[in-house]
Symmetry: C2
Subunit: 183 residues, 2 copies
Amino acid sequence: MARVIVGMTMSLDGFVSDRNGEVGRLYPDMEAMRQSEQLHQAIGSTGAVAMGRRSHEMGRGDYTGYEFQVPIFVLTHRAPEQVAKGENDSLTFTFVTEGVERVIDQAKAAAGDKDVTVVGGASVIHQCIEAGLADELHIDLRSVLLGEGLRLFDRSDAPPIELEPFGVSESPGVTHLRYRVRK
Amino acid sequence: MARVIVGMTMSLDGFVSDRNGEVGRLYPDMEAMRQSEQLHQAIGSTGAVAMGRRSHEMGRGDYTGYEFQVPIFVLTHRAPEQVAKGENDSLTFTFVTEGVERVIDQAKAAAGDKDVTVVGGASVIHQCIEAGLADELHIDLRSVLLGEGLRLFDRSDAPPIELEPFGVSESPGVTHLRYRVRK
């Protein structure tokens, strides 16, 4: 049964991009990240990816170097005219305008026995957690205080959500936190 | 040489109290916390404590059961008329109205070879970090999303601050994160 895993890299003070909208300080060593055990595990277990429209646009139409060469489901209000391309036919894009539940439903169907990995942005991850769609929350906590920027967890009217930590590991400058979301 | 250690318990989404100002969800098992290896280490290495006025008031005039039976320095605008009491003469209160640098100076002098532990609140910890007074940041990260409340790290105009993680450990429901603050 596919798990739905939501997660992003976040500064210790809770930001997923800095005051200028940049993410450089959160990923000071992309090469180390690409070679990390944690990413290799995620690639191996991920059968489909879900993301928001702005996250999709960060790929700038070229997903040939993208870690997850799998079907990608994009939550958007309007499908774009041009669709980005991956390395081969295993990476496909599906644009979903009917809300986050429908995105996850379609991604689960595509993932089969493997996991659905929700890579961001903050809004999609938030929606997944609040709608009870997320089975696990994976936070890569970068050891920096950014002071300002876009928060992963902005204020929410929803009741508190308990998490069950099931694993913590470290790579240089990053603490990998793994939680099950209690439903 | 005394280190200045600032730290609090924080929810994964960055709050040190919930939407009602309560901290119960952050400390679901006070007894486990009191018996934790991490707290015992902190008690052994702490020579003086610094805190803000509201943190001091949370003691409600009775510090007989307080973990740190050492000299306590309180940052305040006005010294209170009644002073709380500890278990014995080793816990004393000094009220400091001349700002956070003066609080830390006095606490260091009292701590001797031992550490100064800044136990909160959020504002005092923030001031210590931004003024370059903090050597280490110890965050006990509680595995809960509170959604709303008082943030430990609220937005700041200060430039980003790099941290060096030097140890992570776990106890039930809490990840103990330890950082050196780069100056």
